[in-house]
Amino acid sequence: MYLGILLFCLGLFFISPSLLSFGVWLAFFILYDKMATYEQKDLIRILGEEYIVYQKRVSKWFPRIRLRSSLENKLGKKMSKDLMVEINQDHFRERFNKYTRRAFQMLPKMEKPRILDIGCDSGVPTIELAKLSNGEIIGMDINQSLLDKLNRKIEEEGFSSRVKTVKRSLFEIDFPDESFDIIWAEGSIWIIGFEKGLKEWRRLLKPNGFLVIHDEIKTVSNKLKNIPRYGYKLISYFSLPEDAWWTEYCKPLEIRIKELYVKYKNNSEALKIFKKYQSEIDMVKRNPKEHSSAFYIMRKS
């Protein structure tokens, strides 16, 4: 909208160019840029990580013009959903359950713990936690379609009585203080930042409650150093094998994508989706060690 208004004003400037009209246009641009920046901050507060991910894809000033009909858009979205089912990323993600189990076994035995899984996605670790404990688990995520997928799994596995889902942004967690025995967060703390996550989630833990984080290994020494500063005691820490994300996740996913490439070789929409997956896989392939991750097991002190 703002770009449209500015382009319209620029058109008027071309019709009657003068230093004054250029100055006015420049002033409009600065004003709209400031407004857009302000609104972006507001949208991050309201929509959370969903907007952050969107922001990475779509820049502030340059829209992505697609000359397609709305029917094609709808078909594209349906195709994307169908392909996601066919790719079945969860199947590959489940290979990491052994690390979830290892981290959980480092906690002392607890009778019916109340667990909050922050940024649960489609709930691969959530279901694993339900199998490992006899507690009540809340899976929290901003994406309703992922939560719907998790809800179906909960029903299939027969965990409906003790596993629930909540649609909530990481930026607006409004559970009362000291609500949980364990907070579990795999691959989600980066959205608000490691230190900020530690600081903000502390109030949600009961006294001596546990916080388990699965996060990238970058700046690990800093992270370990900051843990006591934010009111936790490090119980244990372990890193995944350096090439785990490549060998256990991306490599088999790449094989699957290649199989589907053959199947959908005449479908341009599908090929576009595969290309997107492949570019993400290539990032890990180029430097597997760079994408290594670790588990941090902490107790509230």
Binding site: G4, G11, S18, L19, L47, E50, R64, N73
Partner: protein, 60 residues
């Protein structure tokens, strides 16, 4: 008006001929109007109960 009323320089008018200015003017006005219409439809085209991300059309 810039020259007579505001006493600002209109030197830019002399630098380019009218046809040379007309093409970018038409392109800017046309594309600007297109974006305004598309974004207006995306934002105000439907009533929603809760704020949600618009990720279709020019916002995709």
């Amino acid at each position: 008006m810039s020259f007579f009323v505001f006493r600002f320089s209109t030197v830019l008018v002399g630098l380019f001929s009218l046809p040379a200015l007309l093409l970018p003017a038409i392109l800017s006005l046309g594309f600007g109007l297109y974006l305004i219409a598309k974004s207006h439809k995306a934002v105000f085209g439907e009533t929603i109960d809760q704020p949600r991300l618009i990720d279709s059309g020019v916002y995709s």
